[in-house]
Subunit: 243 residues, 2 copies
Amino acid sequence: MTAPAIGFDADDTLWHNENIFAHVHTRYTALLARYHDAATVERTLFATEMRNLDLYGYGVKSFTLSAIETAIELSGGQIGAAEIQHLIGLGREMLAHPVELLDGAADVLADLAAAGTHRLLLITKGDLRDQQAKLARSGLASHFKAVEVVAEKDEAAYAAILRRHGIAPERFLMVGNSLKSDILPVLALGGSGVHIPYRLLWAHERVAEIPQAPGRFFELKTLRDLPEVLRAWPAASRPAAGA
Amino acid sequence: MTAPAIGFDADDTLWHNENIFAHVHTRYTALLARYHDAATVERTLFATEMRNLDLYGYGVKSFTLSAIETAIELSGGQIGAAEIQHLIGLGREMLAHPVELLDGAADVLADLAAAGTHRLLLITKGDLRDQQAKLARSGLASHFKAVEVVAEKDEAAYAAILRRHGIAPERFLMVGNSLKSDILPVLALGGSGVHIPYRLLWAHERVAEIPQAPGRFFELKTLRDLPEVLRAWPAASRPAAGA
């Protein structure tokens, strides 16, 4: 029997991401302030993103295209080429932004990888190249046995990953900041979830549901407390011959 | 011993793609005709794409962003919001474009899958969501044992795929329209390649090199001739217990 597996979300779980978007949103609403108030700009941008999601998917390039489209719409076509070039520049800044690890990420990942008690997977959604580039810059890549970038983090995607790696759901624990993308689909498959909220959450990721899965759902304030959860986690207490 | 494996490229190997880009390029040069001649527009757009490649990667969203940036540059900032909205629309049309299979793709894939003599993989680069959506629309998805979307098709990427699926290079054959992305890196690893040129090739994919790998490199006019190559391909002549 191989070691139980832990899946880690990336953005806002291992490194800061939503704060970069928040900063860009501030600059975006300022750029459009002469056409509309910030609340209208935010609401319209979000509506554009949701309308485009099926075609564009997640990620910075999708955001940039939706931001340009929204700027044209909200300015009644008055927005200038220089301002659109500025928006393209904001997107580029986001893509090139340094990766800033969250507190504990480097230590906890290094310790877990050294211990060899669990198979460590990185499971993230969004833009393939951007996510791989961030992982490379993070310095964490060598800790992971596999990296899975998926178009959507739903039950089907997790089921496919578990099947591909030969992981039984009851021996899989997912760590992430989004109940919707990281926790609920994994609990539904019979796996376990550790929710570590980030201080910001994109509206699209919000859910009202509170997971009900005693012994399989944990909520932490910081990654630093993950090892303590793992000591109590059922799957980890079984002998793992492959470890 | 499991069955030998065949990797299939997707765009311009299983379905038309470059013709969609070519059509959009024609409309793009027409849109910018009052600023510059077509050759200048094409040359500048290509330069923008190459400059952005490392940050953006491949795919329609990257193309759209580079096309907007180039239009602003070539018009000296005179391009209007309506024209930029038109470019966004072109990108959306490309993403939503129906998948048109190349001659033989449906038959050859169905026959190979039914025969079970080879493990069939789809190996493509570019935008994760777009590629997955095209595969879903193609009707070919069920024939593949695995789908690999990578950020770049180089030796490292192929080596990782072969390792992940436990495929020895000498039992791997890649089928694709690009010598640069589909054939040369696979030959370098000791695998085999079947090159089926498409009538159009993006400048970025052009190479001067002619592969030198007797018995491991084949050039075909159509996918319909692939079964004949497979009958002579060394790896296929070995008994494959897993087949």
